[in-house]
């Protein structure tokens, strides 16, 4: 215990009376290392988490019900809808009709019937405009024109990836409509029903499932499908809190809905590749961070080594007057600890008070997601522990090297 107290006594005085600039410099290195540890992997993971968030917010919501593989639609859709409406914590529900179709543009100017029509395969989605907006906030996604209104007959909102000017990939594998603007007429085909519709809006969400769809009023889609039955294809359920997703899924299953449709939470419905990329990015982030950690360890090693070597004489004198080696080594461990803790504390402040709120308010605009900074407290604390331990070891080793030198050699400055 005594060497710890003496070590602390010496460390406090050495830190207190060291030059301000050296303290600022070392602390800055530790802060930057901490941020490197947390922010690099946090942004990489945040890119994918941003994509997952967008899929949940814009497409699946918290729970999504869709048709079973063997059925074309959700069996007994009105009953499924009724059950969903009775469940607790349900905030909004959007029933959707989803049907495959094609959209053709510029057919007015196609004079030669042998030329290939300019068309794209798509999913036409019939929505209740108010309910869909309450679940997915689709009206906020309209980047040109306007959202659908009641009475919008033969009017559609197009997903941006159906249009060449947004897709920006000139490939036969990704067909897109050219020269389609707000007010343009396109030819929509569902089965054998063909209808000329007007484009009133364009949505852009960074979620492929949304951006390759065409949205119409549900009554319009049903009329094109020539059905008067309420055979829904998707029901997206928004909850008061995402934490109820699993409980809601279980409640639906308990009501036998899984016999009529596929019931998934937003996690179940996430594309697997996103989860795989997230793991890969986390690994990549850890690798980059570990380089940062090594740099910090080397920096602290050099700083403590130089400090100890320039104070070699005084270390020798302390040993001569009876201060034991452990106390002197511990004083350097405390100094390293001080720099690591102060650096991490400043880093924590920058992270949670500045960076996380900033990236939440201003996500990084990536083509496939709005990247946020993911820094869960548990993992951040783990990284701090890692940084502190590395720093302490990096401070202890050079101190031990110098302290172990012969006392008289240290005092006389002999090698």
């Amino acid at each position: 215990m005594l060497p710890v107290q003496i070590g602390f006594f010496l460390a406090v005085r050495q830190i207190k009376r060291s030059t301000l600039w050296s303290t600022v410099l070392i602390t800055a290195v530790m802060t930057l290392t901490f941020l490197n540890l947390v922010v690099v992997s946090g942004i990489l993971v945040g890119l994918i988490e941003g994509a997952q968030y967008a899929v949940r917010e814009r497409y699946t919501s918290d729970v999504i019900i869709s048709n079973l593989r063997e059925n074309k639609f959700i069996e007994d859709s009105p009953r499924v809808l009724r059950v969903a409406e009775t469940l607790p914590n349900v905030k909004a529900i959007s029933p959707r009709y989803v049907v495959n179709g094609t959209a053709e543009a510029n057919y007015q100017y196609r004079t030669d019937p042998n030329t290939i029509p300019e068309e794209v395969g798509t999913q036409v989605v019939g929505i209740d405009i108010a309910k869909e907006d309450a679940v997915s906030g689709i009206s906020d996604l309209v980047v040109e024109g306007r959202y659908l209104q009641e009475g919008d007959f033969d009017k559609v909102v197009l997903g941006s990836m159906l249009l060449a000017k947004y897709l920006q990939i000139d490939s036969e594998a990704f067909p897109a409509l050219k020269d389609v603007e707000i007010g343009s007429k396109i030819r929509l085909t569902i089965g054998d029903v063909v209808r000329e519709v007007e484009v009133v809006g364009i949505t852009k969400s960074k979620v492929d499932e949304i951006d390759r769809r065409i949205f119409m009023l549900d009554s319009q889609v049903r009329s094109m499908m020539r059905t008067s039955e309420f055979n829904l294809d998707e029901i997206a359920i928004s909850l008061t809190d995402e934490k109820y997703a699993d409980a809601t899924k279980q409640a639906l299953i308990a009501n036998g809905i899984d016999k009529l449709a596929k019931v998934q939470t937003y996690i179940d419905a996430q594309p697997k590749f996103l989860q795989d990329i997230k793991k890969t990015f986390a690994l990549l982030g850890a690798m980059i961070s570990s380089i940062g950690l090594a740099v910090a360890a080397i920096t602290i090693f050099i700083v403590i080594f130089i400090n100890a070597i320039t104070r070699q004489k005084y270390i020798g004198i302390m040993k001569a007057i009876g201060i034991n080696a452990s106390a002197i080594q511990i004083s350097y461990v405390f100094q390293s600890l001080f720099y690591a803790v102060i650096g991490s504390a400043i880093g924590l402040f920058i992270l949670y008070v500045l960076l996380v709120p900033y990236f939440d308010a201003n996500p990084i605009n990536f083509p496939f997601s709005d990247g946020i900074l993911v820094a869960p407290l548990g993992s951040t604390m783990f990284r701090i522990t890692l940084l502190v331990l590395t720093t302490v070891v990096a401070g202890f080793i050079p101190a031990r090297i110098i302290v172990r030198k012969n006392t008289l050699d240290s005092i006389l400055g002999r090698r």
Binding site: I6, A320, G322, I411
Partner: protein, 221 residues
């Protein structure tokens, strides 16, 4: 108090051997003020380092208070120095980031005394040495003479049996040198410390009870 038997110290550098101490026998009594004198390179400082356990002789025995200290491990030597020895170095050797009081209280803290007692005791000793205006001064805020007096305070604060002083006046002006020697002399008499001082200045050797002259690695006449 201190018995030295056939102490030899040989420094080796590659194939070259330098015999600095060539078999020294001597005895120093309790409470004695001894000056070790000799020409530069005679081996007087080397002898002091062997006696004060800062260095290990190539051969021979050192016995302090009946204990054969030359056979001790480094850790045992450190503990022995802490409890029984005090040091005054040529260049004061104060820890630069510690105030005068903190420098002086260091051996007390290491002996397990609490902070309050150590501060009180350190200030008491500093006051005795006329440094009551310098309690909170860092070494670089004091003159050479003042620093050396702080160094003496650190050497005596824990009431060691023996004080070793290696050329304590070498970096001081005449006035400060006289003051430092006077303090050492008074300390020796007042507290019955045994003082072993290395000096090359004849004038200061005269204040000692006995002068041991080292000539070419041996005790001279």
């Amino acid at each position: 108090m201190i018995k030295i038997k056939s102490i030899k110290k040989i420094f080796k550098q590659g194939e070259v051997e330098t015999k600095v101490l060539k078999g020294i026998d001597l005895e120093i009594k309790e409470g004695e003020f001894v000056a070790i004198m000799g020409r530069s390179g005679a081996g007087k400082s080397t002898l002091l380092y062997q006696m004060s356990l800062l260095d290990t002789p190539t051969s021979g025995e050192i016995i302090i208070d009946g204990i054969k200290v030359s056979d001790m491990s480094q850790v045992e030597k450190t503990n022995f120095r802490l409890r029984n020895l005090g040091f005054v170095f040529q260049d004061y050797a104060l820890i630069p980031e510690l105030t005068a009081t903190e420098n002086v209280m260091l051996p007390l803290l290491m002996q397990g005394y609490d902070m309050n007692y150590s501060i009180k005791k350190a200030k008491e000793v500093l006051k005795t040495l006329g440094l009551d205006n310098h309690f909170d001064n860092l070494p670089n805020q004091m003159s050479g003479g003042e620093q050396q007096r702080v160094s003496i305070a650190r050497a005596v604060v824990h009431s060691p049996k023996i004080i070793f002083a290696d050329e304590p006046t070498a970096n001081l002006d005449l006035e400060s040198s006289k003051a430092v020697i006077k303090v050492l002399e008074e300390t020796c008499k007042k507290f019955k410390h045994t003082v072993v001082m290395v000096t090359h200045e004849e004038e200061y050797g005269e204040v000692a009870d006995r002068v041991i002259r080292i000539v070419d690695g041996k005790v001279g006449n």
